[in-house]
C-alpha cells in the first residue's frame, strides 16, 4: 500500500510533468483508437458484406490470355490471305473492312484453337455437380432472330443505319491508310467472334461485371431462353414485371411460348395469345412460330445498357423475346446446335446457334471460394477462370476501404513506435532526474523493487488517464475522421478510374472513328481486347442483312465512345464510402492492451535503471 500511496502522492505532486506525459499518451491513444476503429470497420465490412447475400459466378474461358498467346505464335505468319480472314468473319459486311487489311493474324487457327475450349452445357453441369457448395444453377441461352414483314423490331432511330454505314465506309477507307491498326482491331473482333458463343457475361466478367457483354447484337431480336425462374429474375436486361399474361413454363409443354416486351407488343400491335413469326437470323428460309403468352415491362434499367445511342436493334432490351430453354431447344437454337452460315463469297461457317450463359449460385462467399477450388480439382484447366461479378464488384468497392485500412495500420504502427520511443525517453529522463529520490528511498530501507513498482505505478496512473482521454477523443473523432479519410480514398480511386477511362475511351474508339485517331487505335488491340466484347460479339454473329452490319459498325463505335467507361468497368463501381468506425468495447480493450504494453515497455526501462542504482553511490555522489 505504501507503494501505491507514495506513487499517488508523486503523481499529484509532479502535476506539470505528468500532464505532459498524459497529453502525449492521449495523442497516441487517440491516433491508435482511430486506427483500430478503421481497421475493425474494414474487417467487419469485408466479413459481413457478403455474408448473407447470394453470390453468382460464372466459368469463363480466359480469352484475352489465349488470344495474346495465339497472336504471338501467329504474328510471324501474317501473310495469310485476306480471303481466309473474310471467311472467318462470318458477316458479309465485315468482309469489306477486313478485306482492305493487308496483314492479319491467322484467324482460323485462333478460332479453331479457341472453339475447342468452349464449354458445353454438359460441362457446366458437370462442374456444378463437382462441388457441394453450389446452391443452385441457372442458365440462359440467347439466339438471334430476324424480323419478318409482320413482326418488326422496335427501333427508335432510323438514321442510325445510314450514319453508321457512313462511318463504316469511312473506316474502310481510313483502314487503307492505317492498315496495321485496323487489322489489330479486326483481329480482335474476329478472334472474339470465333468465341462468340461464350457466355455473354464473360467479356464483362473479366472486368468485374458479369452482365457486361450483351450477347447477341445482330439479328433483329434476341431470343433469350431461361432455364428457371431464377434465371428469369436475373435477366440480363434487368428485372421486369408482367403487364399482361404470365411467364412461360419451363417444360416441353410450354414450347413455343414466349413473352415479349411491352414496347415490342405495342409496336407490332400484339397482345397475349397472338402468334408471331420470326426468321432465323442466318437463314431467311427458316421461320419460327411463337406464341405470346405474356407481355412484360422492364422495371429496372438493364445493367448492361450500352450507354445512350443503342442502335443495334437486337441488343435493345425492348427487342428481347423471352422464352424457356426448352423452346430454344425445340427450335434447334440452343447452344448445342449449330447453324451454318454461307456468306456472300460462298464460304460456309458453322457457329453455335445460341450463346450459353451459365450461372452458379452460392449462398455465401465461402461457398463460392469452395467452388473455385472444387472445380479446379474437378479438372477445370487454367485456361478458364471462375469469376463472380458480385464478389469482384464487392471487392472493388472495398478498394478505398482496404487502402484506408492499410493506411490505418501504418498510422497505428508509426504512432505506436513513436509513442513507445517518446514514452521510454520521458521515463528515462524522469528516472534519472529522480535518481536522488531513489537513493534516499533505498537508503531509508525501501526495497528497490518497491521503488521500481512505485515508478511503474506512477507511470501507469498517468498513462491510463491519458489513455482514457485519448480513447474518448478518438471515439469522438474516429467516425468523422475515418469517413473523411475514406472519402479522400474514394475520390482518389475515382479519379484514377476516370483517368483510366479517359485513356481507354480514346483508345477504344471503333473502326468508324479510327480515321481520326490512328495513333491511338493501335493500342486498342492489346489494351482492350476483352473490354470490346460488345463490338466483337456483334461482328461475330452470323448476320446476313446489310442493315445489321451497319448496326454492327455503329455498335462498335458506340462501344468505343460514350459507354467506354461503362463498358470498361462493366458497371460503375459504387465504392463503399461510409464506414461505421465506431469505438466499441473490443477496441477499448485493444487500446488498453496497447497502452499497458507501452507502459510496461517504458516501465521496464525505469525498473532497469532503478535496479542499477546503488544508494551508497547516489548519496556519495551527491555529497
Amino acid at each position: 500500500m505504501f507503494v501505491v500511496k507514495n506513487a499517488w502522492r508523486n503523481v499529484i505532486r509532479n502535476k506539470g510533468r505528468n500532464i505532459l506525459i498524459a497529453i502525449i499518451v492521449a495523442i497516441i491513444a487517440a491516433a491508435a483508437t482511430i486506427g483500430l476503429a478503421i481497421r475493425q470497420a474494414a474487417v467487419t465490412a469485408r466479413e459481413t458484406g457478403l455474408e448473407n447475400t447470394t453470390i453468382t459466378a460464372q466459368i469463363s474461358f480466359d480469352r484475352s490470355k489465349a488470344i495474346s498467346e495465339l497472336r504471338e505464335s501467329s504474328s510471324s505468319s501474317d501473310s495469310s490471305s485476306s480471303s481466309d480472314s473474310s471467311n472467318s468473319s462470318d458477316s458479309s459486311s465485315s468482309s469489306s473492312s477486313s478485306s482492305s487489311s493487308d496483314s492479319k493474324p491467322d484467324f482460323d487457327a485462333m478460332r479453331e484453337a479457341m472453339s475447342d475450349k468452349q464449354l458445353t452445357l454438359a460441362d457446366y453441369q458437370k462442374y456444378a455437380k463437382a462441388s457441394s457448395a453450389v446452391k443452385s444453377t441457372y442458365y440462359t441461352e440467347t439466339a438471334s432472330l430476324a424480323a419478318t414483314d409482320d413482326f418488326q423490331p422496335v427501333e427508335d432511330s432510323t438514321s442510325s443505319s445510314s450514319s453508321s454505314s457512313d462511318s463504316s465506309s469511312s473506316s474502310s477507307s481510313s483502314d487503307s491508310s492505317s492498315s496495321s491498326s485496323s487489322s489489330s482491331d479486326s483481329s480482335k473482333s474476329d478472334a472474339n467472334g470465333g468465341d462468340g458463343q461464350q457466355p455473354g457475361g464473360q467479356g464483362g466478367g473479366d472486368m468485374g461485371g458479369g452482365m457486361g457483354g450483351m450477347t447477341m447484337t445482330t439479328g433483329d431480336f434476341s431470343l433469350v431462353g431461361f432455364s428457371s425462374d431464377e434465371a428469369v429474375s436475373n435477366a440480363e436486361n434487368g428485372t421486369f414485371t408482367m403487364s399482361d399474361g404470365e411467364v412461360f413454363g419451363y417444360d416441353s409443354d410450354s414450347d413455343g411460348d414466349v413473352i415479349i416486351s411491352k414496347e415490342l407488343a405495342d409496336f407490332n400491335n400484339l397482345s397475349v395469345g397472338d402468334t408471331i413469326t420470326v426468321e432465323n437470323a442466318s437463314d431467311s428460309d427458316t421461320t419460327y412460330k411463337l406464341t405470346i403468352v405474356g407481355i412484360y415491362e422492364n422495371s429496372t434499367e438493364s445493367s448492361n445498357q450500352m450507354g445512350g445511342p443503342m442502335r443495334s436493334t437486337a441488343s435493345d432490351p425492348a427487342n428481347a423475346i423471352y422464352t424457356s430453354v426448352s423452346t430454344l431447344k425445340s427450335l434447334g437454337l440452343d447452344a448445342d446446335s449449330t447453324t451454318e452460315t454461307t456468306d456472300s463469297s460462298g464460304n460456309t461457317t458453322e457457329t453455335a446457334a445460341a450463346q450459353l450463359n451459365y450461372t452458379y449460385v452460392f449462398s455465401s462467399k465461402d461457398d463460392y471460394e469452395t467452388f473455385v477450388s472444387d472445380v479446379a480439382k474437378a479438372g477445370l484447366s487454367d485456361d478458364y477462370t471462375v469469376s463472380s461479378a458480385d464478389v469482384e464488384q464487392y471487392e472493388s468497392s472495398l478498394v478505398p476501404l482496404n487502402n484506408l485500412a492499410q493506411f490505418a495500420l501504418t498510422l497505428l504502427l508509426i504512432v505506436l513506435g513513436v509513442g513507445a520511443v517518446v514514452l521510454v525517453v520521458i521515463t528515462l529522463c524522469n528516472v534519472r532526474e529522480r535518481k536522488y529520490e531513489v537513493g534516499v528511498l533505498t537508503a531509508i530501507g525501501v526495497k528497490k523493487v518497491k521503488v521500481a513498482a512505485q515508478f511503474t505505478f506512477e507511470l501507469l496512473v498517468v498513462t491510463m488517464i491519458g489513455l482514457a482521454l485519448g480513447a474518448a477523443g478518438g471515439a469522438v473523432a474516429s467516425v468523422p475522421v475515418s469517413n473523411q479519410l475514406l472519402a479522400a480514398q474514394v475520390a482518389q480511386q475515382e479519379s484514377q478510374a476516370s483517368s483510366q477511362n479517359a485513356q481507354f475511351g480514346r483508345d477504344m474508339q471503333g473502326p468508324g472513328a479510327q480515321g481520326t485517331s490512328d495513333s491511338a487505335s493501335s493500342d486498342s488491340s492489346n489494351a482492350s481486347s476483352s473490354a470490346d466484347s460488345s463490338s466483337s460479339d456483334s461482328s461475330s454473329s452470323s448476320s446476313t442483312s446489310g442493315s445489321s452490319s451497319n448496326a454492327n459498325a455503329s455498335g462498335t463505335n458506340n462501344a468505343g465512345r460514350p459507354n467506354g467507361p461503362g463498358g470498361m468497368m462493366g458497371q460503375a463501381v459504387s465504392y463503399v464510402s461510409n464506414v461505421n468506425a465506431t469505438v466499441n468495447l473490443k477496441i477499448v480493450g485493444q487500446l488498453l492492451a496497447i497502452g499497458l504494453g507501452l507502459t510496461l515497455v517504458a516501465a521496464l526501462v525505469a525498473v532497469v535503471f532503478v535496479m542499477r542504482y546503488e544508494p551508497l553511490q547516489i548519496l556519495a555522489d551527491r555529497s
Binding site: 505504501f2 500511496k5 507514495n6 502522492r9 505532486r13 509532479n14 536522488y436 529520490e437 537513493g439 534516499v440 528511498l441 533505498t442 537508503a443 531509508i444 530501507g445 525501501v446 526495497k447 528497490k448 544508494p615 551508497l616 548519496l619 556519495a620 551527491r622 555529497s623
Partner: protein, 229 residues
C-alpha cells in the same frame, strides 16, 4: 563515566568483527581489520582524519555496503545474511551528512515517508507522531508543513534526526551531524543524541572529526589513518 561502567555489562547490539573493506575488488583497502563493539544506551564517536574510512565504516554499519572481509553483527547475527533493506528501515536510523531529505516533500511528509517505509504499525496518526518528533528535536510544530528547502541547514539536520527516530530504531547512526552547524546548534543536537542514548536506550554512533563532539560522547573509537606506513 559511571554510566559507562554500568552499561559495559550490556550486550553489544552491533559488532564489527575483523572488518575490511575495499571499494573495488582486490583494490585498496579503505578499512582494514577493524574490530569494535557498540552497545545500547551509549553515545559512540568514531573519529579520525580525512580518508581514514569513517564514512565507509558508517556505510557498513548502516547496511548500505557489505564488508569485503569480516562480519558486521547486529544482535549477534551477520548483517550480510539479513535483508539489509529491512534492517535499514526497521532497526537503524541513519542521519546523513547531507541530510538526504527529499526537497519536494514537506517536513512532515519526509518523516512520514520513513514511517511508511518501515512498514511498522503506529498507535497514533503518523502526522501526530511527526509533530511530536519535531518537538523532540526542538523544532516548532508549525514546521511540519514547511518545504524542506525553506529550512536552514541546522533545521534540516533536526528534521533528518526526527526522520531517523520516527520508526524507533535501536541504533542511530549520524555522519558528521554537526559538521556545518554553529556551536550552539551543535551542542543542542548533541544533547538530543545523549538524551536518546541515555533515556531511551538507543545506541548512538556519531562519525565526526570535531573534538567537541568526541568529548561529549560516552566512548570514542579512533580510526587510524590508513595511508600511514
Amino acid at each position: 563515566m559511571t554510566e559507562t561502567t554500568a552499561t559495559t555489562a550490556a550486550k553489544p547490539i552491533l559488532e564489527l568483527d575483523n572488518v575490511s573493506y575495499s571499494y573495488t575488488k582486490g583494490g585498496k583497502k579503505v578499512l582494514k581489520n577493524i574490530t569494535h563493539a557498540f552497545r545500547t544506551g551509549e553515545v559512540h564517536s568514531i573519529t579520525g582524519p580525512s580518508g581514514a574510512g569513517k564514512t565507509t565504516m558508517l556505510s557498513l554499519i548502516s547496511g548500505l555496503a557489505n564488508p569485503t572481509e569480516g562480519k558486521v553483527l547486529y544482535n549477534g547475527k551477520d548483517l550480510a545474511k539479513q535483508d539489509r533493506y529491512d534492517y535499514r528501515s526497521h532497526d537503524i536510523g541513519v542521519i546523513f551528512q547531507s541530510f538526504n531529505l527529499l526537497p519536494q516533500l514537506t517536513v512532515a511528509e519526509n518523516i512520514m515517508l520513513s514511517m511508511d517505509a518501515s512498514g511498522k504499525k503506529f498507535d497514533k496518526p503518523k502526522k501526530e507522531l511527526a509533530v511530536g518528533l519535531l518537538e523532540q528535536v526542538h523544532l516548532p510544530a508549525e514546521y511540519a508543513n514547511e518545504r524542506i528547502l525553506h529550512l536552514s541547514g541546522g533545521e534540516q539536520q533536526r528534521v533528518a534526526i526526527a526522520r531517523a527516530l520516527s520508526y524507533g530504531p535501536s541504533v542511530i547512526v549520524a555522519d558528521e551531524p554537526t559538521g556545518n552547524l554553529d556551536m550552539g546548534t551543535q551542542e543542542d543536537i548533541m544533547s538530543i543524541f545523549r538524551t536518546l542514548a541515555h533515556e531511551q536506550g538507543v545506541c548512538v554512533i556519531i562519525v565526526t572529526h570535531s573534538p567537541e563532539v568526541a568529548a561529549a560522547s560516552d566512548e570514542v573509537f579512533e580510526l587510524a589513518p590508513l595511508r600511514r606506513r
